[in-house]
Amino acid sequence: MARTVIDPLTRIEGHLRVECEVENGVITDAWVSGGLFRGMEVVMKGRQPSDAYYIAQRICGVCPISHGHASTMSAESALGVTIPNGARLVRNIIEAAQYLHSHILWFYTLAALDYVSPAKALQANIADTYALAQAAGTSTANFAAVQNKVKALVEGGDLSIFTNGYLDHPAFSPDMPAELHLIAVAHYLEALEMQAEASRVIAIMGGKFPHFMTSIPGGTAWMPTEEKLDDVLFRLVRVRDWVYATMIPDTLAIAPYYADALNYGGGTGNFLAWGVFNDESMEMTKRYLPNGAVFVPTKGLAVEDADPAKIAEYVEHSWLDGESGLNPADGQTVPPSEFAGYDVNKRYTWGKAPRYDGKSTEVGPLARMIVAYLRGVAPVKAIVDTALTALGAAGKPEVLVSLLGRVAARNLETAVIADWSLEWVNELVAAVKEGGVEFFKPIEADAGKGAGMWEAPRGALGHWMNVEGGLIANYQIVTPSTWDISPRDAQGVRGPMEEALVGTPILDPERPMEAGRVARSFDP
C-alpha cells in the first residue's frame, strides 16, 4: 500500500493536488484538493449588477465567456429582462467560439501528452507517417520538419515545456506506432493556431479573448457589419473544417490503443447539465444542448429535467466556514478565521461539496452528451452512434461512462458545436438582411433574485444574484470544477473525480501518469 501525490497537477486551469492510495497497482482511494481561494463572491457584494459581468468572467481565463454569460443572465433574471433575438444569436456564436477554442486546447495542449510522447515521435519513418495519416483519414503536415524540430530540441538539451515529462512511461500504449505519435505531435502544433483562430472570433465580437466586453446585461454591445460577419464566418468555417479533418480522425485513430480506458474512470455515474445555447424560446429544456439529469447506477439511462432547487453545498471537508447544506440561492461564502491545515480525514480543500438531490454528480461534456443523446438531439445521436460503432460498442452508450468515454464525448461535442456555430452566423446574417433585428434592452428594475444557469466547456455552471436597492446583496457561484473536484460530503461520499480515480491502474506509483489522465479528463 502506498500513497502517491501529484501536486501540482499540471496542464489544467488552476491549482489542484491529487492524492491517491495505491494497492497492488490499482488506486483504492483518492482525495483531490483545490489549492486557491480568492473569494469572488465576497468581492461582488455591494457592487452594481452590471459590474458583476466584468468581474465574474475573471474567475477563469479559459472559460471567461461562460462565466460572463452566466453572470449577465443572473442579472437579467433578477431584474426581469429577456434579451432580444439578435443578442441571443451573438451570444451563442461567441459561446460556441469559446467551446471550439477550449476543447481544441484541452485535447491537444493539455491532455494529449498523457497518451502521446514527443520522444516516440522521433522513431517514426516519414513515408510511413504520410501513409498512416492517409489510412486514418486525418490531415497531413510537414512531418519531417516537425520531427526535426523535436530532434533539435532534444539534442540541444533544453527541453523547455517537455522538461522532466514522462517521455518514456510504460503506460503509453506499447502497440501505438511511432508514426501515430508523430502525427499527433504535428497536430499538437497545428492546434495552437486553431485554438487562436477560434479566439479571434470572440475578439471580433467581444473585443478580446480572454475576457470579453460585449455581453452586457440586457443584450450585447456588438453590432454586426457585413465585413465583420464575413470575417467571423470565414474563421469559423476554417476551424470547423479542421475539427472534421483532423481532431475527430485523430481521436478515432488513437482511441483503440487505449481501449482499456473504457473499463475504468467512469466515476459516480450521476450526470447533470443545465444546458447551453438558447433557441428562440429561451427555455432550458429546449436549448441546443438541453438541460437534464441522469443517474445511471440507480435509474439507468433515463433523463429527467434538472432543477437548481435540488442543489445543496456542504463544507464539512472544506477550509471554508459557514452553514453546510445550503442551496446557492441563499448560499454563503465565509472565509475561515483560521486555516485548519491539510488533513484528508478532516479538511483538505478550498472547494465546497455540491450535491444534486443528495448525490455526488458529474458535470461536463460527458454529462451534456448523455443528456442530449437521451433527449434525442439528432446531430449528437448521429455522431455518438458513429463513434460507438468505431469503438466496437454499437448500441451500447453506457460504455461512455468511463475515462475514454469522457475524452471522446468532449471531442465529439466539438464537431457538433462547430456545425451549429455556422448555422447561427447564417441565421444572424438572414436577420440583419431582413432588418429590424434588436440587440439590447435596457434594465429598469433595481431589486430581485435571479440565477443564470448555463454551461462552461468543462460543465454545468450557475451564478446566483440577489439585488436590493440597485446593489448586489448576495452572490454565489457554483463552477463546473466545484462539482467535479468536490471533496467528500457530510456523509463521507467521494466527489466525482475522487470516485473516478478509484480503480485506475497505476504501473509506477512513483510516476502516476494514469492518475493524471483521469483527473485531466474532467478538464478541471
Binding site: 496542464r11 515545456i161 475578439a203
Partner: protein, 391 residues
Amino acid sequence: MANEDRAFNDQLAERGVSRRDFLKFCGSVAAMLGLSEAMVPTIASAVQSAASSKLYPAVWINGGACTGCTESMAQATYPDIATIVLDILSLNYIETIMMAQGDAANEALRSTVEKNEGKTIMIYEGSVMKGWDGNALRVEGKPSLEVLDEFAPKVAAIIAVGSCAVDGGWVKAAPNPADATGVSMYLAEKGIKTPVINLPTCPVNPEWVVAMIVDVLLLGQLESGAILDKLDDQGRPKLIFGQTIHDNCPRRGHFENGEFVYQFGSPEEAKGYCLYAVGCKGPQTYTNCPIVRWNNQVSWCVESGAPCIGCGDFNWVDENAPFLGRMRKVGIGTGPQEGGFNPGVVGAVAGGAVVAALGIHAIGMGAAGRIGNMPPTEDMKAHDRKKGGDK
C-alpha cells in the same frame, strides 16, 4: 542569402509566416519599444539568432491566477506561442502547459533557477496570495509564497504579467478577502531587490510580453541596465503605457464632435460613436490598446462597441466601478456644467500632462456648447459610499 537566413525562412514558412510578415512584426516591436526603423534589422537578427542558439532559461509561475494571461500568451501570433517556447525561451516550468506533473515539475523549477542563478527570467501571473500565511494558495503541499521567497532573489528579473501580478488585480478589490497583493509590493515588503517589469491589463496583451522578451532577452538590455531607464516610476515600460487610450482612439473624432452612444444597440452604437457617455475609461487609462489591439490585431474593446473599463489602471476594479457609469467628479476646478463633463479629473489622478490638457480642451468644448446634454457624472462611486467615504 546566407544559409542561416534560408534556414530561418524555412522555419517561418513551416508556420505559414512569410519573411515580409516577420519583418512587419519586427517593425511593430520596434515601434512599441520606441526604437527607430533603423533598428528593425537588429531586432530581426536578434530573433533569428535566438531561434538558432541556446534557449533562454525561463520559468512561469502561477500565483492567484485565472490562467487568463497564459491563455493570452497562447494567442500571440508573431512569434506564435510554439516559437516562443520551442525556439526562444526554454520555458522549463509553466503549470498550465508543461508535460511534467507533480514532483517532476517541481524539480524542473528548482533545477532551472539554481543552475542558471541570476540568469533565469521569471514570469509571474496572478496575485500574490498572502491570506492565512500564504495558505490562500497552496502548491506542492505548502503556501505558494515560499516559491517567491526562495526563487525571486535568484532570478535575473521578474516580468509581472497582468493586473493581478502588478497590484493584486480584482482579487485585491475590496474587501480583499484573501489578502492579495502584487509582486513588486510583496518583494518590497520582503526586501528582495530583483527588478520587476510591470505589464498591467486584464489579461496581459501578449504583444507586450513579446516586446519585453525582445527588449530584455534578445537585445541584452537587462544586462546593460538600459531596460530600467525605459520604465516609469511604477515599473511599466513608458512606451507602452505612456499615452491614454483616448489619445489614440479611432472614435476620438466623434468625441470632438460631441457624438456619443447613450445606449447599447442604438443607432449611435451602430454608427460607432464615442462611448464616453456609457462609461468609457479611455481618457484615464494608459495603454496602447488602440494601436496594438488584441488577438492578432483583429479588434479591441472599443472597436467591438464596448466601453473601456480601464483594466490597465492600478486598483482598477475599485477605482473604475461602476464600469458603465461616468468617471467620478474629483475636484480640480469646476466644470462648466453642473455635475460637469470633466475628463480633466483623470489628469489629476494619473498626473499626465496630456490628459490634463485634454480636460481643458473638453471643458472648452463644453463652454462653446459643442457638447450638450451630457448625463451627470457620479459624485461618489456607490461602492465607496457603502464604505462610508471617498477613497
